[in-house]
Symmetry: C2
Subunit: 419 residues, 2 copies
Amino acid sequence: MNSISELINKIGQKAKLASVTLRIANTEQKNSSLDSIANQIQENKQLIIDANNLDMHAAKKNNIDDALLDRLMLDDERLDAVVESLKQIANLDDPIGKTSEFAERPSGIKIGKMMVPLGVIGMIYESRPNVTVDAAALCIKSGNAVILRGGSEAINSNMAFYTCIKNGLNDVDLDPCSVQLIEVTDREAVTELVRASEYVDAIIPRGGKGLIKNISKNATVPVIKHLDGVCHTYLDKDADPQKGMDIAFNGKTRRYGVCNATETLLVHKDFDGKALLKLISLFSEKGVEIRGCEKSQQLSSEINKASESDWTEEYLAPILSMKIVNSVDEAIKHINTFGSAHTDAIVTENDRHSEKFLSEVDSSSVMVNVSTGFADGFEYGLGAEIGISTGKFHVRGPVGLEGLTSQKYIVMGDGQIRP
Amino acid sequence: MNSISELINKIGQKAKLASVTLRIANTEQKNSSLDSIANQIQENKQLIIDANNLDMHAAKKNNIDDALLDRLMLDDERLDAVVESLKQIANLDDPIGKTSEFAERPSGIKIGKMMVPLGVIGMIYESRPNVTVDAAALCIKSGNAVILRGGSEAINSNMAFYTCIKNGLNDVDLDPCSVQLIEVTDREAVTELVRASEYVDAIIPRGGKGLIKNISKNATVPVIKHLDGVCHTYLDKDADPQKGMDIAFNGKTRRYGVCNATETLLVHKDFDGKALLKLISLFSEKGVEIRGCEKSQQLSSEINKASESDWTEEYLAPILSMKIVNSVDEAIKHINTFGSAHTDAIVTENDRHSEKFLSEVDSSSVMVNVSTGFADGFEYGLGAEIGISTGKFHVRGPVGLEGLTSQKYIVMGDGQIRP
């Protein structure tokens, strides 16, 4: 066993121990730890910004691109947002200990289910240092110990946040090992963490596709993963033309760099022709490049030719692929073949078509007459999200506090023995 | 890529394709395929028994032990039970397509969840050939395609069942690749299957601890696993003495070889002394060896000394470990330290103690005044079980049809776009 695996083992043991006390911490204790962390951050703003300056300086020296620099940067305003987010998480309902209704069985025993923490979460993320605080807060609130592994480019900022978190936990007498940050930046630490199934109950990676694929390949701990969002909006022949235009335009252009942005527009050949031309010109005015199938290209000279790879591309940019289809079935087949099972919407006034779409599209969110931009934990009422799961196992779609829980069976009786 | 990995790839592709049609098959279609498989088995009883004779003959030649031979053996009566089980599964409620209540959000969109199949299940099991039919039936009913990998010792029996399943699926016009059996017996096929994350959504292993540990170590596909059942019964100081005796005796002696059997008896030092002595003599009469802590040994000369390893041992035999504890806290700590998070029961009339036990014991089933023998999918009202999950991820405790499903978000709107 080398020193990195020893380190991860030690961190894992401490996390498991902390999870035992955190599991039975009551809501008040957990909330006051979040308050106390918020106070620590408030009081140490300058220290955090100084630490962040070290990261920013190093990043600039390494010629890191502007988008990444922007995600790395912390200032007074962003720290206020971090503090605000802690207060919001403290205000969320505590899922732990909630029980379902009990059902009485012929034997006379009563069966219910109780929501309990998963145990220990391993969180692996890149660049944005505020994830350190958000993830810690969501895990504490759901009674889980967490092991954090941030990107090396944010190590000073993360360490500064981590100090605030530790002090905050100490203030309220919760095990400070409830939250631990892996301070070494070796990649091997990630490999060890995702295989530490003795201590870690779930891994949540947040970052680029490369990071997540690599983790999935190596992990023996279950992974709640977010791969790509190749989202579709399908304008049915029975769509309301105005709704179709609005939803498609909003789905694509609301924000380009987000996973719930529409990347492919599917249009039924009998969708209102005038509305479609209007929509194409709106995209053009907005500077969105359209890459279309042959039939779409006949609609406007401004539409470029799509290649096969466009159907699976998550652009995260002002580019939209577009295909004319002959039926709702063809649209569904296209989505299930080329999509990423993230979020897909149909615009139609035809109930038979929307029902078909809802039951047959195999994605984490399936929508009717709504912009794909709504796929989000806050919009769904989860209060906060730690990620969006594109896997089907355990939790699917936006992951809030309940996604960090497990359920155990509670069985109540009055002396029953089994024949 | 060698020939085994090519084979598993091909099987995986076919399964994924089959899962697309199976996902949208309606309840009638799925049920009639189960009926049709039942008919095939009924009509081909003799062929199945002949195939099983080949396996039994080979097993005897390999000096396989009696318990295993018994699990391998098929006869007329056991085939009737297989047919009966198919009928029971056909009678279960179809979970697929069920939607939760919809909640309206401030934006006006309505959010609900719909139960959908996981997709493709990989089932890896040993010796008992009836698992071939049970697993196939539960997967079909829950809309999942399944890849079966049985033990090499049952290959002829499994192949005979497999022929019936294929013919049954063909009769009702469902994709025959909805169920596939891996016909090669190389171990490498298992390794390839548990890493085929492109095609397989979940692995369910059923068999010895060695098999399951090995699978968990290699798998990149999520595993619904059942490790051991080191179940505890705790007799509290405020227990009703008669209930305590009955529940402890039943938990241990109902059946020795099952995972929900009580393996460790914890007794509060102030539990009714007369009842405890009576219980010890009942165990003695029944031929159950007790291995106890020092204090227990003082109760009776018939109690042997327990070693540290006894606290983590799943005996599956007429042996019981026993410990005297000073408090409900000590009992809970013992269970969370040495138990296997399967099923643990408290016997008490004290509500504060039972509530503490329920919330603090971290096991898949936690029971009050009930024998651990009740931990079972049928007793819990799941109708059938494909296994008992000792993991916390996705599904915990007895796994029925719902454990084989995922949930997707359904979002309904009326043209909403997101600011």
